[in-house]
């Protein structure tokens, strides 16, 4: 099995490379390849200073000390800067059986698209919000990718010694950055996907109000999905961590788009946002979220529209699901 890691900073501090190289024999790997994006600094093993990036290749322990030594790691120059979209990087990618990496969050869509295009198995880190990107969401909805075993407490810890502003909740360490809402995205199967979410609540109208602009009910907590409701339900995006494709179908999300099965049932005309300080601003958010209609003025920020007979509350993005 060949593992490919794309690294976009200094591989010396890459725990990925460390982990796979040190467990190379244990995991039964055949080859480990990692590229390093435009590493301008002296690199890890020799004075290597250029516009060009390098890539490392490790083929296992040769001298019997079970530790990857400098002379066992092949360092090869790349012609370009190691960008994952470059033909060099792609030709390395094609050698890989499994890709494990922490892609730049800003290029997450493109990165996943490339992995899908080249039909690769992968385990990559991404932000929870990426599940709402329409390209990524479509892949999730079609069961082409899913969430892996999450980070403990939904937070990833990354080491980056060049990063100034690091902050952690409790675990402080020099150069450590804590990023919350981080997930593994993968297309390798895992047990978690096949475990039914056990439910205990039953449907009633008070607890599960209907949206005003979607033909679905609001379920504000994943474990409170009613056991006996056959229609469409809006659930928090964190539901994905518990999603079992044999139990539920995902039929859309409340982003105001028309490209998935569950689409908005109304478009608000002239929507307005009423802020707590009394100001009124543009309320287009009412058309890109699901809303609940109230007859009396609710607490906090609310919305109105010409074709809404009351006050609207706008909810966070919901994924729309249906019982199988």
């Amino acid at each position: 099995m060949v593992i490919f890691i794309g690294i976009y900073n200094d591989p010396r501090v890459s725990n990925f490379f460390h982990y796979f190289s040190h467990n190379f024999e244990k995991l039964g790997l055949k080859k480990l390849i990692t590229t390093c994006y435009k590493n301008q600094e002296r690199d890890l093993f020799s004075q290597h200073n250029s516009e060009n990036a390098i890539y490392l290749e490790y083929n296992g322990d040769k001298n019997g000390n079970f530790v990857p030594d400098i002379n066992e790691i092949g360092i090869k120059p790349l012609k370009g800067d190691g960008d994952f979209r470059s033909s060099e990087s792609i030709s390395l990618l094609t050698q890989a059986d499994i890709v494990v990496t922490n892609p730049p969050f800003s290029l997450f869509r493109e990165y996943i698209a490339q992995l899908i295009e080249y039909d690769k198995k992968f385990v990559v880190i991404g932000h929870q919000n990426a599940t709402k990107y329409k390209e990524i969401f479509r892949l999730i909805k079609d069961n082409k990718i899913w969430l892996g075993n999450g980070f403990k407490g939904g937070a990833g810890h990354f080491i980056n010694e060049h990063y100034e502003d690091y902050a952690t909740a409790t675990d402080r360490k020099e150069g450590m950055i804590r990023v919350s809402g981080v997930h593994w995205f993968t297309n390798l199967d895992l047990n978690k996907r096949h475990e039914d979410l056990i439910l205990y609540k039953t449907y009633n109208e008070e607890e599960y109000p209907k949206y005003d602009n979607y033909d679905a009910i609001e379920v504000s907590k994943t474990n409170e999905i009613p056991i006996d409701y056959d229609g469409v339900m809006g659930v928090p995006i964190t539901f994905l961590d518990k999603y079992n494709p044999d139990q539920f179908d995902i039929v859309g999300m409340t982003s105001g788009r028309d490209e998935f099965e569950a689409t908005p049932t109304k478009k608000y005309i002239n929507p307005k946002q009423h802020n707590e300080n009394g100001t009124i601003t543009n309320g287009s958010k009412a058309n890109t979220s699901s809303t609940i209609l109230y007859k009396t003025k609710p607490e906090g920020v609310y919305y109105t529209a010409d074709n809404a007979d009351g006050y609207l509350k706008v909810l966070y993005t919901r994924f729309l699901i249906k019982r199988k």
Partner: protein, 364 residues
Amino acid sequence: MNIELKEITIRELTNGYEDNNENGVVGFGGKLDIRPPYQREFIYKDKQREAVIDTATKNFPLNVMYWAVREDGNFEVIDGQQRTISISQFVEGDFAYKNRFFHNLQKDEQEQILNYKLMVYLCSGTDSEKLDWFETINIAGEKLTAQELRNAVYSGSWVSDAKRYFSKNNCVAYGLGGDYLNGSAIRQDYLETTIGWICGDASNDGIKNYMAKQQHEPNANELWLYFQNVINWVKVVFPKYRKEMKGISWGFLYNEFHKQSFDSKKLEKQVSDLMQDEDVTNKKGIYEYVLTGKERYLNIRAFTDNQKREAYERQKGICPVCTEHYEIGGMEGDHITPWHLGGKTSAENCQMLCKEDNRRKSGK
């Protein structure tokens, strides 16, 4: 009961080691539940963890460990969970000992650790023999609770399924009934309580018998349905929630009263009045009282020594019922107007009766 000593090398033990957090920890080629799914986690401090590795690298003996032999031929650690996990984590490369990870050790150092022999007692026998024995050895270190031991002994399809409902953190039993039950899911408190309820006997024997009967049932639907019935019944009979409702033996009340119909508005009024009654010292007992009518649940406030002394002197030590004279020690305080007829625990409502007449009066 058969206890067989077996030497297990660390190599064998850590083969196939997998830590799935809440979903349990396995080792020994997948045949050993080091920690079964949804069971609380004992956490060794770094110092303790290092002490285990220190012992193994010096080839000194670690204390014996106990494994239960299951019906299917697999095993579960009864004693030695943290030591096993410490060793496995080290071999896995999860932590460094003396600044070196396992994979940084020289080949001979690694071999020395992998070939280290652990002394393991394999315990097999009938369920009750095993349980007795585990209760005996389970006296040192991090103890397994009674229910954790029972889960080990009666392991099988039923326990595995029941744990999905009752033992996971944030399990459905917690979601539905967490406000009504004491304890925590992962410590098996919910499971223990509910089994006690369904068989109407919360003793060790009662729970054992039920688990023995259920052991090979394919699922625990019966228990889960029962639990839902109990909690839903409570919510119908006492729709207004108060924190005093947590930790009452609801299952026993359900078993006794669920076929009767109650006027929940009337019950609520009763509960509310009793909550305000300062003579009711056990507010939790109000719920049992309004269903059973048994005053003892309420711990009606007793007369103080001063109130009793004052009444004794007023009566000059004479019991008004049998008109005999008694020393104060031979008499007891009594509500002249009984509490349930509105009599208060106050000086003017206190009289002293001889013990015998007091018992007769209260029908004790």
